[in-house]
């Protein structure tokens, strides 16, 4: 009950911020439209929709980290947090309350991206549903990154880390804009050690029906999500105490 009440408050705080909505749903969709328009006007296959959409979906999810991080950082800086810490809310209520509302938002965001992709020519098959399910560990990873950044930084710093650094990292190192094989070398090795390209490749494999290729990539994302979430919970819980000292 308490968790639900807190989660509901957090949903409202995020949804009622129009800039959040514009960036979270609007920006990935605009990008999708723009890159599809570019593809129509170039003779080579740069941004083919079934290769592009899993990347756009992951890129869009990076904004979820920005939402959660900003909300937590703003709460930490406000007296509201003192009021909430003095209430019977437990550490578990806080963690679930901050993370749970973002999961449906992330799923809606991915669904909107795939729906727009459908309008732009993506063939509608049951594999789309699988590709959306495959995006869930990525959503959890970005929510965890938001929880971690919101616990460590103030809201302006979260804007820099999650809004600029993370969105760029997840875009450039995911293989969405260009084939990592073409770049090769250290860049490719670094990209393969990070979860973003694996998240995109798992989505591409699911969409293409290459089911056996999904899990090898998805394990990377799940591993990163579990570790990041564990670290975020530890850091958040510690900050809960130290912020009030």
């Amino acid at each position: 009950m308490k968790t639900v009440a807190f989660a509901s408050r957090n949903s409202k705080e995020i949804i009622r911020d129009r800039i959040n909505l514009a960036f979270g749903i609007g920006f990935p969709v605009v990008l999708l439209l723009l890159l599809t328009a570019i593809q129509k006007n170039v003779p080579v296959e740069l941004f083919v929709i079934d290769q592009l959409i899993p990347g756009i979906a992951v890129f869009g999810l990076s904004f979820i980290a920005l939402f959660s991080g900003t909300l937590i950082a703003k709460d930490r800086a406000s007296s509201l947090m003192a009021r909430l810490f003095a209430s019977p809310l437990t550490a578990r209520d806080f963690i679930f309350g901050y993370t749970l509302p973002l999961l449906p938002m992330a799923i809606i965001q991915v669904a909107v991206c795939y729906a727009v992709a459908g309008l732009l020519g993506l063939r509608m098959t049951p594999n789309i549903l699988l590709a959306m399910i495959v995006a869930i560990p990525s959503a959890i990873l970005f929510i965890a990154i938001g929880l971690l950044c919101g616990s460590l930084f103030n809201d302006k710093q979260v804007g820099g880390v999650c809004g600029a650094l993370l969105t760029n990292l997840s875009a450039w190192l995911s293989g969405t804009w260009f084939d990592l094989e073409l770049v090769g070398g250290t860049f490719k090795r670094i990209a393969n050690l990070l979860p973003f390209s694996h998240a995109v490749n798992a989505g591409r494999a699911a969409l293409a029906g290459n089911y056996h290729q999904v899990l090898p990539h998805l394990w990377w994302v799940i591993g990163y999500a579990v570790i990041t979430l564990a670290v975020a919970i530890i850091v958040f819980t510690r900050k809960m105490s130290s912020d009030n000292q």
Binding site: V4, A5, S8, R16, F85
Partner: protein
């Protein structure tokens, strides 16, 4: 009945005592003002009593519950109106009230009923569906106190509740606080001495983390042979500072 009983309550940061061996007793229904200059230990005391900060040593009982071993029960019985306005900015006045009622255990229907009652008793009807972030400072503070009371706490901590308010808003809040006297035990911290004198049953003056004196305003003035409360306060809290 005793609402608060502290037993050598102490908070130490490295080598500095923020609160040192505080022994204090507050009766149920009493409005107890805690005064002192900045850094005297008032806010740290409130933070310990409201289970926000763990004491370094000592303990306190809030309606018989230890703030160390039974903090969840203490949190259920208490509520806080923090120094700065503590509202959820994107929620409406009504949603803020319902939100706090629910995290203190009320179900959705009960929370709605409590919010309606609170809106009526705090005169918030006109702004009930406005988002908190667009309210003036006075309305936000009023909402903040309404949020502190919606859980029907037995003990309410008011940490500088009228800080930054204009005279009219301050007097309005005094009216609200006066209306609660006898029903809710309140611990008030403030830098406005006239506020403490006007509102409180007893006053405790802290300096350097220690509780120097406790009594009614008149008792403290008599004790120091002071003509007014400000002189008495300076004599107790600012010893050595006033003569410079």
């Amino acid at each position: 009945m005793i609402a608060i009983q502290t037993d050598n309550l102490t908070k130490k940061y490295k080598d500095k005592y923020a609160v040192n061996a505080l022994n204090l007793s507050v009766k149920q229904g009493e409005l107890f003002a805690l005064l002192g200059v900045n850094g005297a230990g008032k806010t740290t005391t409130i933070k310990m009593l409201s289970c926000l900060v763990k004491p370094t040593s000592g303990d306190a009982q809030v309606f018989g519950n230890s703030i160390i071993s039974n903090s969840i029960k203490v949190k259920e019985l208490t509520n806080v109106s923090p120094q700065e306005t503590a509202v959820a900015p994107n929620l409406t006045v009504r949603e803020n009230l319902e939100f706090i009622a629910r995290i203190y255990g009320a179900d959705k229907n009960v929370a709605t009923e409590k919010a309606n009652a609170s809106i009526a008793s705090f005169g918030l009807s006109k702004i009930a569906d406005d988002r908190a972030k667009i309210l003036s400072g006075g309305w936000q503070r009023r909402l903040s106190i309404a949020m502190a009371l919606i859980s029907e706490p037995q003990l309410l901590f008011l940490d500088e509740p009228t800080l930054g308010l204009d005279v009219l808003a301050r007097r309005e809040l005094w009216g609200v606080i006066n209306g609660l006297k006898g029903k809710v035990t309140m611990i008030l911290t403030t830098h406005y001495l006239e506020e403490a004198v006007s509102l409180s049953d007893r006053i405790g003056i802290m300096a350097n983390g220690e509780l120097k004196e406790v009594g009614t305003a008149d008792e403290l003035m008599d004790k120091k042979g002071a003509k007014n409360f400000e002189d008495a306060f300076i004599a107790i809290a600012g010893e050595g500072v006033a003569t410079v």
